[in-house]
Symmetry: C2
Subunit: 453 residues, 2 copies
């Protein structure tokens, strides 16, 4: 555990986010209106999101977007975060590879989600919005937005997937301690919720349903906007703050990554760690590999189709060009709740389609084994989501050993697992299993999609 930290000062917190779309040779296909099939303009998004977030969502020209002072000020609560050379893990694996991780677990809510929660809440506040809504799966995003909303004096209602609401009461309590209202989804408070409760009385909820409920409440409440914690372009944009810091810190370590890894749910933390390094590939300066680590039970990047699909179950959102398993796909109840989402964002989907990045799928048991090894070597118990990135990093380090290569591996530790100990408990007791997704299930769900691409 002779691991070395690389620390920046507060003045080193980036002053601008990196908008990768501006530098992409092939731009992502446009987000479209499901009725007209026409590409959306920012104004079309204004009813749903803050105006600033809407403009960022569709900005394809500015590579750098300034971070407002009010946002940087709040970033300073915990940023910059450490970059760590994982010497303990290297020793365990007896690998010639150098393994680094960006430690986003040090935020007060325990994950990277606060990086986007703060600007989203700030942009709402700036235009006088009084209420916001959102959904949350495992609760990481909901906790982050609760803190940001409280800071900017905005009321927040969070639809929390019912099974998490019951299985992860601590995350619910965190949101309530920060002053947010938390509603188990599906609920009777929306049409979408009432319909699914009536049709399926014992339904335990899904991220797709919770998004539908949050969107519906925002659209039917005066002066209320909706915020989303992943998938969208402006969320990926905000998360680049972590990768830009990591870039400076790799310089301090006098290294440059051969492989960059993030776990993958909707894409927020993977985008954050990858995009700043990817621009050097675009410029021909490096040939870094980028690896998204998704759960084998929710394999949209490795086994999904590249197609237009809705972001939610009820079909309230615009159509997004994505690698998807279909918006009706019901992921198995794995313990990495933050990765249980049917689709990938439009930028990631285009990058994957153009072979500018890779994806691997990690079985649940492999992810927990990696998480326990990491905890014992590096001291930090990782979130079950982040454990997927660790598992992928371990695969790369073992490959480097076999090939006798001194490679440099960088992964993002998106959060700690202190609120997910019930999952570790079950893993240590031998109660967890892997989940396989039959081809037929993917085909059935994706065949239902309207073919636009």
């Amino acid at each position: 555990m002779d691991s070395k930290k690389f620390l920046l000062q507060e003045k080193d917190i980036p002053t601008a986010w990196y908008n990768i779309v501006a530098d992409m040779k092939t731009k992502p296909r446009p987000i479209i209106n499901p009725g007209t099939k026409q590409p959306l303009k920012p104004e079309d998004l204004f009813p749903l999101f803050s105006e600033e977030a809407s403009r960022q969502e569709l900005n394809t020209t500015d590579a750098w977007i300034e971070i407002p002072d009010e946002v940087r000020e709040m970033y300073r609560i915990w940023r910059p975060t450490p970059l760590v050379r994982a010497a303990g893990l290297e020793k365990l694996l007896d690998t010639p590879a150098h393994i680094y991780f960006k430690n986003e677990s040090v935020s007060p809510v325990g994950s990277h989600k606060l990086n986007s929660a703060i600007p989203q809440a700030y942009f709402c506040k700036k235009q006088g919005v009084t209420n916001i809504t959102t959904e949350t799966g495992a609760g990481q995003w909901g906790a982050a937005l609760s803190l940001a909303a409280k800071h900017f004096g905005i009321e927040l209602a969070v639809y929390m997937v019912k099974i998490s609401y019951e299985q992860k009461p601590y995350r619910r309590s965190i949101m309530q301690t920060y002053g947010a209202e938390v509603i188990a989804s599906p609920s009777m408070s929306t049409k979408a919720g009432r319909k699914i409760i009536t049709d399926h009385p014992n339904y335990q909820g899904s991220l797709g349903t919770a998004i539908s409920e949050a969107v519906e409440l925002a659209m039917s409440t005066p002066n209320c906007k909706y915020c989303l914690g992943s998938v969208l372009n402006h969320v990926a944009l905000h998360q680049t703050v972590l990768g830009l810091e990591a870039e400076k810190q790799m310089e301090m370590a006098d290294e440059y990554p051969d492989v960059v890894i993030g776990c993958f749910g909707g894409g927020s933390n993977f985008s954050g760690i990858s995009f700043p390094f990817m621009r050097h590939n675009f410029a021909g300066e490096h040939k870094t590999r980028f690896v998204a680590a998704e759960p084998a039970s929710c394999p949209k990047l490795t086994r999904g189709v590249f197609q237009y699909d809705f972001g939610d179950e009820a079909g309230y959102t615009p159509l997004i060009p994505m690698y998807t398993l279909g918006h009706n796909f019901a992921p198995a109840n794995i313990h990495a709740g933050g990765l249980r989402y049917h689709g990938a964002g439009s930028i990631i989907s285009q990058l994957k389609h153009d072979n500018l990045m890779e994806a691997v799928d990690i079985p649940q048991l492999e992810s927990f084994a990696a998480g326990v090894d990491f905890a014992r070597c590096e001291g930090i118990i990782p979130a079950p989501e982040s454990a997927h990135a660790i598992a992928a990093a371990i695969r790369e380090a073992k490959r480097a050993k076999e090939e006798g290569k001194k490679e440099t591996i960088l992964f993002n530790l998106s959060g700690h697992g202190l609120i997910d100990m019930a999952s570790y408990d079950r893993y240590l007791a031998g109660d967890l299993t892997n989940y396989d997704v039959p081809d037929a299930e993917i085909k059935a769900n994706t065949d239902m999609l309207e073919k636009i691409i």
Copy 2:
């Protein structure tokens, strides 16, 4: 939340701990053998503790004790920790006071306890010890020692107070994830445990009983030592690493504290934040006030007697000169489990007796109200224990406002409360109460003590 962090570099981690005993005009009374009534020598402690810890425990002459490289190396996982100007809290209180906190919650186990777990495990390892035992109440100390033991390759058995074992399963899981064995106390594995289970079949355990069990197992197991997370002099010594950092950081802020505050259970975090500043009082350079914040339900410093007493319930430990409520005192089941201990360490007790420090008692509801305010202002949900320090800091800031004084207040945020959310849940639901301790109960428990002082 425009709070400002003061950050040190790894090279600034102190190279020596501060042993306050060397500078005390009136030394603490000696720890004595209950049979012979003679002061203990280090050799008398060797069967129980590592030799190095035993020597440190009784060292009254060396003001500075070097921190071994192996310990500093592991401190670097999370140290140095930030010092934060709590501007959000100042604003809420509209106080002229400047409030600072040392943020020990950023350790991978979430509290300051790792500061002593590492050297205690290291000293055992250095002399070839293969097994250690300990007790834990809320689980903070047990989690810290589990990580340290794993790092140095030592087997650890933790006796966890039964009610916490059942109410705080996450902390149990953390210890198991790090590879420790966790036993609910009272247990059938020791004589002390069997006796109390037989006499009181539904007994939910106490820290005093868990210490008895851990000590008994250590004494009856070959090559096994016992480690304690608070109360003892060598634990206070190790914790000074946090106060020494805070001293440098207050210099960076160009301020010096008028008041230094820590919550108080056995004394470990209070000693850590206080002793380095206290030496400047001893030298006549400052007149800082030092305030220990204890729970009203366990008021040893404010209402206990100054007397020799056992550190555990069964009477296995040596006799320690302490402010105590009697080793049979059964504290109410408050949610700050780490503060439910009947006595204070010998150094603190002497300092209190000599009026070199103060103590206040905080009712449970006031502590949680302070915790929620702090979470909303500063973003970090504090451990219920640490919330007592926050409550005391708020009292001081309000007093400063009434008196119109621009005072500088420093408190130690000993840990975060992410694993204690069930307690916040109950507080927010209005289910918690205060607990008063009748004078008669204190008198009955302390009258039983043999009068040696």
